[in-house]
Structure formats: structure tokens, C-alpha cells
């Protein structure tokens, strides 16, 4: 049960759109919709006799009731506990005994479950996965033990890491109204307060075939899969789903700096987060240009930011940018920098701001755009190399409101981006004082001790 925190989401997004879709016809997905509304996507890949079988629910931390943060993720843990037919954790035992590997993940917008397994075991995992879509037992004692596991997970991911704690607090401020500001793993006090009834209600509300997408990548075809899908998933009755809340972020009028000083920070770092359109929220025509912009600024060591700040000016040890525009809600664009040895955080961050100012004035060049487009399109071919990677591309896109065409036509759409569009998007997003700066710093009094280290010389 892994949990994708925001940073991981950005990594996944980078994979989705830097390491992913394809020249039309490359993935060649085969699709169907069951009578109960469950979507089926099969991406044949015959290089090994295995399949990755995933069920994606369009429910993430954004869908949690107020005061119940972490419930989507908590439920994901409990999904491994049992059903009347396969009680007491038999799900995992059976998958393992059949040579399968499995896991699950919870994100802002979706929750996914997957098994990778020999193709002749597909029938088995489909039976198991469909069983827990409807028949989960949520039991008091197991829930209490699992709550402690989740709290330990929170300590591992967040509490033990100053960078994660800063990010959690920053997100809570960055979003004024949208539930993207809530930590996926949940605030500790709310994790402690979630009840069995809350969990059951959340499960009953969202775990329905008409809220799910089946994605299978591997050594199969839709023709082979569809009868199984109908047999196992097709018999589950569709249920009415809540009307999705249309969260709108109010206009932000203030800039903000959030800063964490901590004894466990040795090296400072800086980041700045801007609001940005996403593929389906706000001015979405800027989404593809923003993907190209992110590649120009940050795609590799010859990108603009690394070249300027790390190589030429030597003020930074790392520098880059990210764009996240793949969620159901608002997007964001970010910049980050960490100083080189002997340089201050202010020197590094001021150099970053100056570089952005220069770009706003001068714009990126035709050549910058052309190079970025080639790299992004090349990445589509690399994406065909991984079973689970392909399945994730489709699952995350579909549960976040995008379409199969969006994936299949991605290379052409990226290829159509012009330098004027990139510069327009650049100025739209970055030419503003309304943004949030994050600063992670050592304690003011901290003195870096250099222990004499005689043993190293012996």
C-alpha cells in the first residue's frame, strides 16, 4: 500500500508526460464499457507472458468528507483485510502463492490496486479484485491495528522528514479552498478519529463499477479479457454516485512565504509554487505549452535553469522546474533551487528569480522549443518498454478526467506547440508576484561541525 505524496505525484506526472504517451497508434489500446458503466482498457504487449491488472477508482483524497482527511488512504489499507469469501488477508496470500506481485496507491484524485502476474493467472486476480469491490469486511479490531500502521507510515513519510513536513504545511496554504490542500495521508488527529462507520460509508459511496476503470497491460487482448471482465466485474450492480463537488479556487490576492527551520536540515533549499491551468481546469489551452516550458526549463542538464544557475553562475547545486497539470483540479507550476557549497540560499534564489525575470522579458527561443518537443516525443517510444508504466499512464489519465485520445494524440499535440504559445503561457503563469515561496533552513544557531575523523585515515 504505497501512498503517493505530492512529490511522488509530480514524479508520476513527469513520467506520464515526460516518459510517456505516444505517437498515435503506438499503445493501440482496446477499449470497452461494461453494461454497469465500468470502463475496460486493454493495452496488448507481448514481450513477456505476464500481465499488469489494475483497477482504478475515481476517488482520492479530494473526495474525503471534511474532517476525515486520510480516509481514502486508510480504506486502501483495509482493502487487503478480507471478504466473506476470502477472509483474513487471503487475497495477498493467494496472489503471492501464484507468483503475483501486488500493491495499491492513493492519490489526490484516484485510488488504484494492481497485480502483476503470469498471464494464465489473470482470471484469478480478476475474481479476487472484483470480490473486494463489493464485499469488503471492515472490522473493528483490524481497523485499530491498521490505524497504528497508518500512523507509522505517516511518521516514515512525513513526521521524520523536515522537507515533507514543510511541503504538507505549504500545500495547506497554497490551496485556499480546494481539497488538494489536505495531505493525502491525513492529519494525524483526523487519522486517529476515523471510525469504522466512516470507512464503511466511504467504501459504499465510492467503490462501485461505474466509478472504476479496469486497465490491463500485457500479453492479452480485449477479446480474451472481455468475457472475464463481464463475468467478474459485469455482475456488480452500478450505484448512484455523489455529484462531484465543483471546487473553484478563489482569486488569490496575496503572495506568501512559508519557512521551516529544523535541526534535521543540513542544507537549505528553496522552491516557489505558482498557480497554473491544468488540462481540464481553468485555461486548459495552456497545458501543452506548459509541458514544453517545463521541459525547456528543467529537462536535463542542458536545460535553461541548470545551465544558468549550476553550470554558468555556479550559485546552485541543483535547479529546476516542474509542471503539474494532470489532476481533476487546478494545476501548479514550480521552481526549485538549492545552493552550491559556500553559497547562501538567498544568492541562489535571487539568481533563480533573475533568470525567470529574464525569461519573462526575452522569452524562450524557437530552438529551445524544437529541442524540447523532440525529447518529449522520443519519450513516447521509451514508454512502451514497461508493462506497469503503460497501465499507469492510462489509469491516471482516465480517472483524472482525460481521455484515451489525450494519451494517443499527445505527441502530435506536443509537436504542435509554438514558441509564441510557450512564451504566452510562461508570462501567464510566472509573470506575477502572487505565488508561494517555500524555504527549508537549518536552525539559525546551527553550526556545522566537522568532526575530526581519525578512523577514516587508519
Amino acid at each position: 500500500m504505497i501512498l503517493k505524496l505530492h512529490r511522488l505525484i509530480f514524479a508520476a506526472v513527469a513520467f506520464l508526460f515526460v516518459g510517456s504517451p505516444a505517437i498515435a497508434g503506438i499503445f493501440n489500446p482496446e477499449t470497452a464499457t461494461l453494461d454497469n458503466g465500468m470502463k475496460v482498457i486493454v493495452i496488448p504487449k507481448h514481450s513477456a507472458p505476464v500481465v499488469t491488472h489494475m483497477v482504478w477508482y475515481k476517488v482520492g483524497s479530494v473526495d474525503e468528507p471534511q474532517g476525515k482527511s486520510g480516509i481514502a488512504h486508510f480504506l486502501e489499507h483495509l482493502m487487503f483485510k478480507g471478504t466473506p469469501k476470502y477472509p483474513n488477508g487471503q487475497f495477498s496470500e493467494i496472489v503471492a502463492r501464484n507468483g503475483g506481485q501486488e500493491n495499491a496507491f492513493t492519490s489526490l484524485d484516484y485510488t488504484g490496486y494492481f497485480q502483476s502476474i503470469a498471464k494464465d493467472r489473470l482470471d484469478l486476480v480478476m475474481e479476487l479484485e472484483s470480490d473486494r469491490m463489493r464485499n469488503l469486511i471492515i472490522e473493528e479490531a483490524e481497523t485499530e491495528t491498521e490505524r497504528n500502521v497508518v500512523l507509522e507510515e505517516r511518521r516514515t513519510r512525513t513526521d521524520n522528514s523536515p522537507g515533507s513536513r514543510l511541503r504538507e504545511q505549504a500545500m495547506a496554504s497554497f490551496y485556499m479552498n480546494h481539497p488538494y490542500g489536505r495531505p493525502i495521508i491525513g492529519w494525524e488527529h483526523e487519522i486517529r478519529d476515523i471510525t469504522v462507520e466512516d470507512l464503511k460509508a466511504f467504501y459504499d459511496t465510492w467503490y462501485a463499477p461505474n466509478n472504476a476503470t479496469l486497465v490491463i497491460a500485457g500479453d492479452v487482448t480485449l477479446a480474451e479479457v472481455l468475457p472475464l471482465a463481464e463475468k467478474y466485474y459485469g455482475v456488480i450492480v452500478a450505484r448512484p454516485l455523489p455529484e462531484p463537488v465543483k471546487w473553484i479556487e478563489p482569486t488569490r490576492l496575496v503572495s506568501q512565504t512559508v519557512e521551516l527551520r529544523d535541526a534535521n536540515v543540513r542544507e537549505p533549499s528553496w522552491s516557489k509554487r505558482y498557480r497554473a491551468p491544468s488540462h481540464i481546469y481553468d485555461k486548459s489551452e495552456h497545458a501543452y505549452p506548459l509541458e514544453v516550458l517545463s521541459e525547456i526549463l528543467s529537462g536535463g542538464s542542458t536545460s535553461i535553469l541548470y545551465s544558468a544557475l549550476v553550470v554558468d553562475q555556479k550559485v546552485a547545486s541543483s535547479a529546476g522546474a516542474w509542471y503539474w497539470g494532470d489532476g481533476r483540479g487546478p494545476g501548479s507550476f514550480g521552481l526549485y533551487v538549492a545552493p552550491a557549497p559556500g553559497q547562501s540560499l538567498d544568492t541562489a534564489s535571487e539568481a533563480m528569480e533573475a533568470e525567470i525575470e529574464r525569461l519573462i522579458t526575452e522569452g524562450v527561443s524557437e530552438d529551445d522549443v524544437a529541442r524540447a518537443i523532440i525529447r518529449l516525443q522520443d519519450s513516447a517510444e521509451f514508454a512502451k518498454d514497461s508493462f506497469s508504466g503503460i497501465a499507469r499512464i492510462f489509469g491516471s489519465a482516465i480517472t483524472s478526467g482525460q481521455t484515451i485520445d489525450d494519451i494517443e494524440q499527445w505527441p502530435e499535440r506536443i509537436g504542435a506547440v509554438t514558441v509564441d504559445q510557450v512564451n504566452e503561457a510562461l508570462r501567464l503563469v510566472l509573470d506575477t508576484d502572487i505565488a508561494m515561496v517555500n524555504r527549508l533552513l537549518p536552525l539559525e544557531s546551527a553550526e556545522v561541525e566537522e568532526p575530526a575523523n581519525p578512523e577514516e585515515k587508519s
Binding site: 488477508g89 501464484n98 502483476s116 536535463g300 542542458t302 575523523n453
Partner: protein, 460 residues
């Protein structure tokens, strides 16, 4: 870090839910074997050997290669040398300076990267076929005539120094260094593979050149290639990349570790809410006849894939941790059984007590027939999942050669596991597992534990 191609690292320690051992005979069909991966041994006109698996799923080629000899060879006081070489080898070569070199790679989506373990120095290469010739040219340049110019050298060294500084408050990094320092005393394995701030500062560009000249040689090279390429097309590329390397390098021998420190408990004080514990005891040699019994046993104890005993006792029954695991880690001169757990400070002592009990119980009572069966069907049935990306397969091909396992190893491997019996596992558990031999390093503010000695100085 090289581990056995077989080891169950924490990375595949899947977090599972509860395990109650109930037999489901209906579903206990024997898992079919991996479709044999068709490996060709290619020898180039210049005498470079490589194993090739053709795969035309995508129009690309992945290559993985490994030279015997890694950070264990770093000169005393220059720890981190191999690491620094790995990070600067792709920063300019021949008459191509760093910026141009990186630009040619990135503009053609060619990826070349290097990494080092304690015992080897590895590279990985991936390119779309339309850029393949250019990619191999650049790889050849990097291996045969790296420039190590001052600008990239100082830049990369600065990045490494920042990383080492960050590691000082990274409990896993600190714990790992302290564990190796404690286990291996004054052996070369006790030294941090990434070096210390002091040792990295002492490294010169000449040291890098010397490392390359002495260690990146043909007699130490193992190559695996996977992708849309034929043996005929590959052969000349192998020559271009590797044939000009020196035939042999400076001889070396890593002395076998004579004594692995057991029973130590070290605490590294850090103000964090959750203690991070790493533990280890002696493992088993890859060539030992009982290796596969140990592999199955370790999987039952703390492997990934389904609820291991550690996960069952620590996580499922008691909610003491999100993750706990064990795996066999093999090095050329030592073998370990390593584990880990992270638990809030006031309960880490309980987690460690439970883990020692699991250890004792496995040693004295052994595993059940059902556990052994389940472990075997998992380990054999999941083997094909390791052959699902070209880079993953290429890495496996290079590792099998490095370990001297033979070209039929992939076909035979499952039969080695199937041959393991309950008696093998239990006999092995009795001789291998020793809770008193566990050396534990805890980073945090653990309550209720008594260190056996002061924290070792590992630098940083």
C-alpha cells in the same frame, strides 16, 4: 550496491495485509515457468563478449555493463573516488567538452549513466535505434577518453558534498554507514562507499584518471544487451564501445571478511519521532549448496510478495511498523542477512524484541511445510516479472555473468528453488539464524534500549 540478482531487497517488500495461513487447494495450481528467455552469446570481431536478448516491442536498445572492482578499491583517505568517477564520466570526453557532450546526449534522448557498488562499477545505456550509432560513439568516448575537466569536476564534487551533508540527518543513510562500520571493523567494506566530506575533498582529477586506467578494463567486463537489434548489428557496436579499453588493469584482491561483528547495539542520537533500525547478521555465500534454502528461508522470514513472518508479527498483529523486511545481501568478500524496521521511539524496543523472537522461533522451530511451499510458488511464479523492461533484463544478463552463473541459469533457476525441501530450510535456519549475532543500529531517540557501545565515527 550490488546484491545478488536473487535477493529480496526492501524495494520489493510489498506492504501486505494480514496473513492467516489457510490452505486453498483449489487455487494452488503450479505456476507455470517463465518462458525461456532466448539469450545469444555474441562475440565481436575484437573479442568483446556480450549476452543479447532480442526484443522488438519498442524501437530501442538497452545495454548494461559491469566492471569487477568498485568502491572497495578506493584508496585510503580517498573514499568516494569510484562514486565521483561514476558521476563525472559522462561530463565530456575526447574533443567534446562537458556542455557539448551532455547536449548531444539530451538532444538525441540517449541515456548513459554510471554507478558504483562496493565490488563493481556499472554502466547503463539506452537509446532509440535512430540515434544508436551516435549513442555508442558517445559511450565509447566516455569510457576511453573521459576529460574530467575542472568545471564539471568541481561542479559534481560540490553536488556530492551537498549530498553528504544532507545525509548527516538522513536516518537511513547514517544508519547504513554505522551498520557497515560496526559490522566490518577495519575491513575495506567498513568505509562509506560515497566517501566523507573530507575524503571527497581530497580527491583530484588525476585520481579519477588513474581509477579509469586501472579498473575499466576488458578482462573485468560483463555486458548484457536487450532490444531491437541483431547479433550481427551488435557486434561492431561492442567493438566501438569496449574493444579499445586496456586488456587488463591493476590486479587487486579484496581480503575476505574474517569476522563480522555480532550482537552490537548502536544508537545514533537524532531528534525524530520514529526510530529507524537496521540490523544484520552473517549471510550465506552465493556458491554455498544451501544458498537456495537460505533464499527461501529469508523470504519466509521477511521477504516481499506476501506477509512474511516479520510483517505478520510486527505489522499485522501489532501495528508497530509500516514496513519491516529482511534480505540476503552478497558481496564478493562477505555475505549478510540484512533487515530493517521503523517504529515510534517509545515502541522500537518492542519491535526489536518481536524481531528477535521471530529469529529465534525460525531457528528453533523452523518453517512449516505450507510456508515453504508458498514461498517456492511465489519465488518461482514471480520470476517472469523480472523480465518486463529491457533495462531490467539487460541488468540481469550482466549480473548473471558477473556471478558466473552460466547462460542457462535463467532456465534452471526455478528448478534450484523447487529442489529446496522443508528439511533444507529448517536445517539451514538452525545453523544460519542467530539472534545473538544480530548487530542493530538505531537512529532516533529510542526508549528502552541499552547500547553496547558508542556510535562509531563514520564521517559524513
Amino acid at each position: 550496491m550490488r546484491t545478488h540478482a536473487l535477493s529480496n531487497g526492501p524495494s520489493n517488500a510489498l506492504a501486505m495485509a494480514g496473513l492467516v495461513v489457510v490452505s486453498l487447494a483449489v487455487l494452488m495450481a503450479t505456476v507455470s515457468n517463465a518462458r525461456a528467455v532466448d539469450i545469444q552469446e555474441v562475440t565481436s570481431p575484437g573479442g568483446i563478449k556480450a549476452w543479447l536478448v532480442e526484443d522488438d516491442t519498442a524501437d530501442l536498445v538497452s545495454m548494461s555493463f559491469s566492471f569487477r572492482g568498485g568502491s572497495a578499491l578506493d584508496p585510503i583517505g580517498k573514499e568516494g573516488l569510484a562514486d565521483l568517477v561514476a558521476s563525472t564520466l559522462d561530463e565530456g570526453a575526447g574533443d567534446v567538452d562537458s556542455e557539448s557532450f551532455r547536449r548531444r546526449l539530451e538532444d538525441q534522448s540517449i541515456s548513459i549513466s554510471f554507478s558504483n557498488g562496493r565490488d563493481n562499477f556499472s554502466g547503463s545505456f539506452k537509446s532509440l535505434n535512430r540515434y544508436l550509432d551516435e549513442g555508442i560513439d558517445l559511450l565509447s568516448l566516455a569510457l576511453n577518453s573521459p576529460r574530467f575537466d575542472e568545471e564539471p569536476f568541481e561542479r559534481v564534487r560540490g553536488q556530492i558534498l551537498i549530498g553528504l551533508s544532507r545525509d548527516k540527518t538522513n536516518p537511513n543513510a547514517q544508519g547504513g554507514k554505522a551498520l557497515f562500520k560496526t559490522l566490518f571493523d577495519n575491513h575495506t567494506y567498513s568505509r562509506p562507499a560515497g566517501g566523507t566530506e573530507e575524503s571527497v575533498k581530497a580527491i583530484t582529477r588525476d585520481d579519477l584518471r588513474q581509477f579509469v586506467a586501472e579498473n575499466l578494463t576488458r578482462d573485468r567486463l560483463y555486458v548484457g544487451v536487450v532490444g531491437k537489434i541483431t547479433a550481427e548489428a551488435l557486434a561492431p557496436l561492442l567493438d566501438k564501445a569496449f574493444a579499445s579499453l586496456p586488456e587488463s588493469g591493476k590486479p587487486f584482491e579484496i581480503p575476505a571478511v574474517e569476522n563480522i561483528a555480532g550482537g552490537e547495539l548502536i544508537v545514533l542520537d537524532q531528534d525524530i519521532p520514529q526510530s529507524v533500525a537496521l540490523f544484520a547478521q552473517p549471510g550465506i555465500d552465493r556458491d554455498d549448496p544451501d544458498f537456495y534454502a537460505a533464499y527461501v528461508m529469508t523470504h519466509i522470514l521477511g521477504g516481499g510478495g506476501f506477509s512474511s513472518r516479520l510483517t505478520e508479527e510486527v505489522r499485522e498483529k501489532r501495528g508497530l511498523a509500516y514496513s519491516t523486511y529482511s534480505y540476503l545481501a552478497g558481496y564478493d568478500a562477505a555475505d549478510l542477512l540484512i533487515g530493517g524496521v521503523s517504529t515510534r521511539n517509545d515502541a522500537i524496543a518492542t519491535s526489536l524484541d518481536v524481531i528477535r523472537e521471530v529469529w529465534t522461533n525460525m531457528a528453533t522451530e523452523g518453517a512449516t511445510a505450507e510456508e515453504v511451499n508458498d514461498a517456492k510458488t511465489y519465488l518461482t511464479g514471480s520470476y517472469p516479472l523480472r523480465f518486463t523492461t529491457t533495462s531490467q533484463i539487460a541488468r540481469t544478463l550482466a549480473a548473471i555473468q558477473y556471478q558466473g552463473l552460466g547462460i542457462d541459469y535463467i532456465d534452471q533457476r526455478n528448478s534450484f528453488i523447487e529442489a529446496v525441501t522443508l528439511e533444507d530450510v529448517n536445517r539451514l535456519a538452525k545453523t544460519l539464524l542467530d539472534p545473538d549475532a544480530l548487530t542493530v543500529v538505531i537512529v532516533g531517540k529510542p526508549e528502552g534500549v541499552t547500547p553496547t557501545g558508542p556510535a562509531p565515527v563514520t564521517g559524513g
